[in-house]
C-alpha cells in the first residue's frame, strides 16, 4: 500500500492564524502531530514516553534521570566523545529528561543535517552504549548536585512537602535519587530501562518546522520503528494528597526563609480543571495582579516572589504556592496567605476579577508559540493529556464558559486553609514544626 504513504487526518486553524496542527501517521503506524513552518530551515521535535522517575525501582531511585543524562553519551559504534562531537559540530540538539510521569526528549536540527540528526537520535534510543567512562562521569556530576541539594532551600522544601503529601507513594521518592541509590545503578539497569520503558504504545510526538508530512513519515519510521510496541509492566496507583495542616521547619542558617505551602488540587482530566485554573490565577497566578502578589508583595513588601500553581500530575493533583521572606516576617506572611485562601474559599469574588482572569488566560496562551520547539512542546502536552487535536481552537471556549458559580464551587471544594501543609526552610521566628 505504498501509495497511501501518509494520512493527514485533520487540518485545524488556530486563532485565525497559521498554526495548523496535522495528525501524521507514518507508513509503519507511528503518529506525530505536526505544524509545518517553512520560514526557517530547521526542524524541532519533542516527544515523551509514559512513566517517569516514579517508576524507578526501589533502591535504584534516580535511574530514569541517570538514563536521561547518559543516553546521549555514546551509541552504536560511536563512543561518547564521537557522539557528542557529531551533535555539537552539526548543531544538533538531542536532550533527554526524566519527569515524574514522563520520560521526554528535545530534538532540533538544521534542515541540512536532517538525515544525520535523526540517525543519531535513532542510535541514542535504540543502541545507547552506557560505557563505563560516561556513566561514572555523569554519576559523579549527579552526586555533586545531590550534595549541593542538601543546602538548596527550594529542593529541601519540595522534598519535605512531597514526603508529607505522599507517605506511601512513589511521588515521595527522589527523582534524582540518593547518593546510595545512584551508586547502586548498574549498566544493566540502564540497558533494561531503555528496553522496558521506551515503547511505541506510550510515545507522543510533536514536530514543528521545515518538514512535509510525507518526509516526516519516513523519518518517524526510521527513528522510532525498531522500538518495542509495549512497555514493561508497571503499576503506579492513583493517590490522594495527604495534607492536614502540618508545619515543618527545616532549620538552616539563612537570612530569608523559603516557604512552600499546598494541598490537593484537581487532576488535568477533572471536569473542574478550567474553573480551577481561573481560581488559581486570581489567587496566586502568574501576572503582577494576583491577590497574593498584591497583599504580600505590593501592599506590604513582605516578599519578592510569591505565587501559586496547579500541579496536575498523572496520579494526583496539587495546588502549591511559594514565598520567600525575612525570618522575622514568616508568621505574618503565612497569616496573610491563609486569610486569602479562606476569603476565596468563602466565595468573596466579583465579576470583574473573573472576567480579567479569563481574558488573561485566553489572551496569554498564544504567547507560548514563539519558537518551533515551544510549539512542539505544546503538541506533546496536548497528546499526553488527551486534549484532542482541536484543543487549540477549543481552549478559549473552555475558559470562557467558566462562571462565577463555577469558581466559587471549585474554591469551596479545593481551598482549605486549615489543611495547607507548610514547609519553611530557614530560621523563622516563632514557628515550630507540628508535633
Amino acid at each position: 500500500m505504498k501509495f497511501i504513504y501518509v494520512f493527514i487526518l485533520s487540518l485545524l486553524p488556530f486563532a485565525a492564524h497559521a498554526v495548523d496542527v496535522e495528525r501524521v501517521v507514518s507508513p509503519g503506524g507511528i503518529e506525530a502531530w505536526l505544524v509545518q513552518d517553512h520560514a526557517n530551515p530547521l526542524v524541532s521535535m519533542r516527544f515523551s514516553f509514559g512513566g517517569g522517575s516514579e517508576l524507578d525501582p526501589q533502591g535504584k531511585e534516580g535511574l530514569a534521570h541517570l538514563a536521561s543524562t547518559t543516553m546521549d553519551e555514546g551509541a552504536g559504534n560511536l563512543d561518547s566523545q564521537t557522539f557528542q562531537g557529531s551533535l555539537t559540530d552539526q548543531s544538533i540538539t538531542v536532550r533527554f529528561s526524566a519527569g515524574r510521569d514522563h520520560f521526554s526528549a528535545q530534538f532540533r536540527t538544521l534542515k541540512s543535517h536532517e538525515d544525520k540528526a535523526f540517525e543519531l537520535l535513532r542510535l541514542a534510543l535504540n543502541e545507547p552504549r552506557f560505557d563505563a567512562e560516561p556513566v561514572d562521569r555523569l554519576k559523579s556530576q549527579i552526586e555533586a548536585g545531590l550534595k549541593s541539594d542538601e543546602e538548596n532551600p527550594n529542593t529541601l522544601a519540595i522534598r519535605a512537602l512531597f514526603k508529607g503529601f505522599f507517605p506511601n507513594h512513589a511521588y515521595a521518592r527522589r527523582a534524582k535519587g540518593t547518593l546510595a541509590s545512584v551508586r547502586a545503578i548498574t549498566r544493566q539497569d540502564l540497558v533494561n530501562f531503555v528496553k522496558m520503558r521506551l515503547a511505541l504504545k506510550t510515545l507522543k510526538i510533536g514536530v514543528v518546522g521545515d518538514v512535509t508530512p510525507k518526509r516526516l513519515g519516513e523519518l518517524l519510521d526510521r527513528t522510532f520503528g525498531a522500538l518495542p510496541l509495549n512497555p514493561g509492566p508497571s503499576e503506579v496507583p492513583d493517590v490522594t494528597v495527604n495534607a492536614q495542616g502540618r508545619t515543618i521547619v527545616i532549620e538552616k542558617d539563612l537570612v530569608q526563609s523559603s516557604i512552600l505551602f499546598g494541598h490537593g488540587g484537581p487532576k488535568r482530566n477533572d471536569p473542574d480543571f478550567y474553573a480551577a485554573l481561573v481560581m488559581n490565577h486570581i489567587l496566586g497566578g502568574g501576572s503582577f495582579t494576583s491577590r497574593l502578589y498584591s497583599e504580600v508583595r505590593e501592599k506590604r513588601g513582605l516578599a519578592y516572589s510569591v505565587g501559586t500553581n496547579l500541579y496536575p500530575f498523572e496520579k494526583t493533583g496539587m495546588i502549591i504556592g511559594r514565598a520567600g521572606t525575612e525570618n522575622s516576617r514568616v508568621q505574618e506572611t503565612l497569616d496573610i496567605i491563609r486569610a486569602e485562601w479562606k476569603r476565596l474559599a468563602e466565595g468573596d469574588l466579583n465579576q470583574q476579577e473573573l472576567d480579567d482572569a479569563k481574558t488573561y488566560i485566553t489572551g496569554s496562551f498564544p504567547l507560548r508559540f514563539t519558537s518551533t520547539s515551544a510549539i512542539a512542546g505544546v503538541l506533546v502536552a496536548m497528546q499526553e493529556n488527551d486534549l484532542g487535536i482541536d484543543y487549540l481552537d477549543k481552549r478559549n471556549g473552555y475558559i470562557s464558559s467558566v462562571t462565577l458559580k463555577d469558581v466559587r464551587r471549585v474554591a469551596a471544594k479545593y481551598l482549605k486553609a486549615d489543611h495547607l501543609n507548610v514547609v519553611v526552610v530557614g530560621k523563622p521566628k516563632g514557628i515550630v514544626s507540628s508535633p
Binding site: 492564524h17 497559521a18 498554526v19 513552518d37 520560514a39 526557517n40 530547521l42 553519551e73 566523545q81 557528542q84 562531537g85 555539537t88 559540530d89 552539526q90 548543531s91 532540533r108 538544521l110 562521569r137 555523569l138 559523579s140 556530576q141 549527579i142 555533586a144 548536585g145 550534595k147 549541593s148 542538601e150 543546602e151 542558617d253 539563612l254 537570612v255 530569608q256 523559603s258 501576572s287 503582577f288 495582579t289 505590593e298 501592599k299 506590604r300 513588601g301 513582605l302 516578599a303 519578592y304 516572589s305 520567600g324 525575612e326 472576567d355 480579567d356 481574558t359 488573561y360 488566560i361 489572551g363 496569554s364 496562551f365 498564544p366 504567547l367 508559540f369 514563539t370 519558537s371 518551533t372
Partner: protein, 450 residues
C-alpha cells in the same frame, strides 16, 4: 549534563542579557524619531504575537556614588503609576488583555518589555510612553517597594554563597569606586537608605526619548510601527542627557584571590576572571577571536578543557570558559572548574593553565578551526527561530553603546578569524594582569570520601 553546568556556573546576578546567544543576521528595520528615540523593528510572523521593549541607556553603572541600587529600585517603581494610569493600572490593563510583562536592570541598561497579541500593541505603546516621563511616586509605596527589593537581595545574594563570592570578587577586580565593582542590586546600607527623591532624580536624569531605544519584534509591519511610534513616543519632549562616563579601565588592580568559605557550600568551585576588550574598545578582530577561543577551549562537553580535565584526567566534574563581549566597559574572559572529590582547587587551576598553554604551544588541530566556526555560524539560524533573540541582541547592543552592525556583521567577523588571531587572543588573556581568582569552599576542610 548541561543543566548541571548551568547550575554550577550561573554567573550574572541580574544581567539578563548574558545568556542570549549572539545571533547573526536579523535584518532589522531601523529609524529615529524627531526627538531622538531610536526604533528597531524585527518582523516575524509565526504567531499573532508581538514583543515590545523599551531600553534605557542607564543601568547601575550610571548611578551616582553612594546611591547604589537606585537604577534597579526605579525599575520596580516604574510599575506604580502615572496620573493617567494610577495605582498599578499598567499591569492590570496588560493582564486583562492577556499580556505578559517584565523588566530588568543590568550594569549598562534598564529595560521594560511586554508580549501581547498583535492587536494590543497600540495599547502597550500608549502605556509605556506614558510612564517614560509621567511617573508619580507616593513615599509610602517607595518604602514598601524598597522592602521588596531588600527581600530580592536576600533571595539573590545573601542566601546564595556563590552570588556573595561574585560580589566580593567584582569589588576586587575593578578599581576603587568603579561602578562595575558594586552589585547591580546595590550595597545593602545604601539600598536601605534610598528615598523617593533619589529614585525620581535618577528618573529625571535618564528617562527620556533620546536616551531610549524602542525594539519591536513579531507579527508587525514596519509602516504601522512607524505610525504608532510617532503617535505615542514621538510626542515626548527630548531631554538632553549627561554623557555617560567612560568605564574602560587601564589602572592596575589589587588582583589576587577572593575566597569564600561557607557551611552551605557542598561543591567547591574555582574560577578566574580576566579583563579583556569588549566591543566598546573597537578592537572587533580581538573580540571575535576571543569568541572563537571560548568555543574551542571551554564551550560544552567536547571542548578542550572538558575533554582533558573531566574525561581524561578525571580531576573535575565540570569545567569551561565563557566570554562576555557586550559590556559598555571592559569585557571579561572567565575560566571555571569544579573538582571531583578530594581534588584541590590549585590542582584544577594548574590543569586549566596547562591546557591553555598547550593550545599556544601546539596550535589548533587540523580542521578544528573550521569545525568550530561552522557550528558557531549555524547559531544564526537558531537565533532567528526564537522571536525574542533578535530583540534582545540588538536592544542590548544599542543600549551598551554598540551598533546594529556589531550584531549584523557577526558572521563575517567570525568567519574571518584566523588561527593566529586565536593564539594571540589567548596569549593576551594569559598575560593580562587585571585578573582575579575566586574560590568557593566548604567551611570545614575535612576531606569527603567518595
Amino acid at each position: 549534563m548541561k543543566k548541571l553546568l548551568a547550575v554550577l556556573i550561573s554567573i550574572s546576578v541580574l544581567s539578563a542579557c548574558s545568556t542570549v546567544k549572539r545571533g547573526g543576521v536579523f535584518d532589522p528595520e531601523t529609524f529615529t524619531l524627531d526627538n531622538g528615540m531610536q526604533v528597531v523593528v524585527l518582523p516575524n510572523h509565526r504567531a499573532p504575537v508581538v514583543l515590545h521593549m523599551v531600553w534605557y541607556r542607564a543601568g547601575s553603572s550610571d548611578e551616582p556614588q553612594g546611591k547604589s541600587g537606585v537604577a534597579h529600585l526605579l525599575e520596580h517603581l516604574m510599575f506604580k503609576g502615572t496620573p493617567k494610569n494610577p495605582d498599578g493600572l499598567f499591569s492590570r490593563k496588560l493582564a486583562q488583555h492577556g499580556g505578559q510583562e517584565n523588566a530588568f536592570t543590568s550594569l549598562d541598561y534598564t529595560g521594560y518589555h511586554q508580549t501581547v497579541a498583535t492587536d494590543r500593541l497600540e495599547m502597550v505603546m500608549s502605556l509605556e510612553a506614558d510612564r517614560m516621563t509621567n511617573l508619580v511616586l507616593d513615599p509610602k509605596d517607595v518604602k514598601t517597594e524598597r522592602d521588596v527589593v531588600l527581600e530580592e537581595r536576600n533571595q539573590r545574594i545573601e542566601n546564595n554563597p556563590g552570588a556573595r563570592l561574585r560580589v566580593i570578587a567584582n569589588q576586587t577586580l575593578y578599581p576603587k569606586n568603579h561602578p562595575y565593582g558594586r552589585p547591580i542590586i546595590g550595597w545593602r546600607p545604601e539600598l536601605a537608605a534610598l528615598t523617593r527623591e533619589d529614585a525620581l532624580a535618577f528618573y529625571k536624569a535618564n528617562y527620556a526619548p533620546d536616551n531610549a531605544i524602542l525594539v519591536i519584534a513579531g507579527d508587525v509591519d514596519v509602516a504601522n510601527v512607524k505610525r504608532l511610534a510617532k503617535k505615542y513616543y514621538g510626542t515626548i519632549k527630548s531631554e538632553p542627557v549627561q554623557p555617560r562616563r567612560n568605564l574602560v579601565t587601564t589602572t592596575a588592580i589589587k588582583g589576587g584571590e577572593s575566597i569564600l568559605k561557607d557551611a552551605r557550600v557542598r561543591q567547591p568551585v574555582w574560577s578566574q576572571t580576566v579583563l579583556q576588550p569588549s566591543l566598546t574598545n573597537g578592537d572587533n578582530v580581538r573580540v571575535s577571536a576571543l569568541e572563537v577561543l571560548n568555543e574551542i577551549l571551554g564551550s560544552g562537553g567536547t571542548s578542550r578543557l572538558y575533554r582533558s580535565l573531566v574525561i581524561e584526567q578525571k580531576l573535575a566534574i565540570s569545567t569551561g570558559t565563557y566570554y562576555d563581549s557586550g559590556a559598555r566597559g571592559d569585557g571579561h574572559f572567565v575560566f571555571y572548574a569544579s573538582p571531583r572529590a578530594n581534588v584541590d582547587l590549585d590542582v584544577l587551576a594548574k590543569a586549566v593553565r596547562t591546557q591553555a598553554q598547550k593550545l599556544i604551544d601546539q596550535g589548533l588541530a587540523k580542521g578544528e578551526l573550521k569545525r568550530i566556526k561552522t557550528r558557531m555560524l549555524s547559531e544564526a539560524v537558531f537565533a532567528r527561530d526564537e522571536m525574542k533573540s533578535g530583540a534582545w541582541a540588538i536592544g542590548s547592543a544599542l543600549a551598551s553603546g554598540h551598533t546594529i552592525a556589531d550584531v549584523e556583521d557577526w558572521p563575517e567577523r567570525i568567519a574571518a578569524v584566523t588561527e593566529q588571531d586565536v593564539i594571540e587572543a589567548l596569549k593576551a588573556v594569559l598575560s593580562e594582569p587585571r585578573n582575579i581568582t575566586s574560590k568557593l569552599l566548604p567551611l570545614s576542610n575535612t576531606k569527603e570520601g567518595s
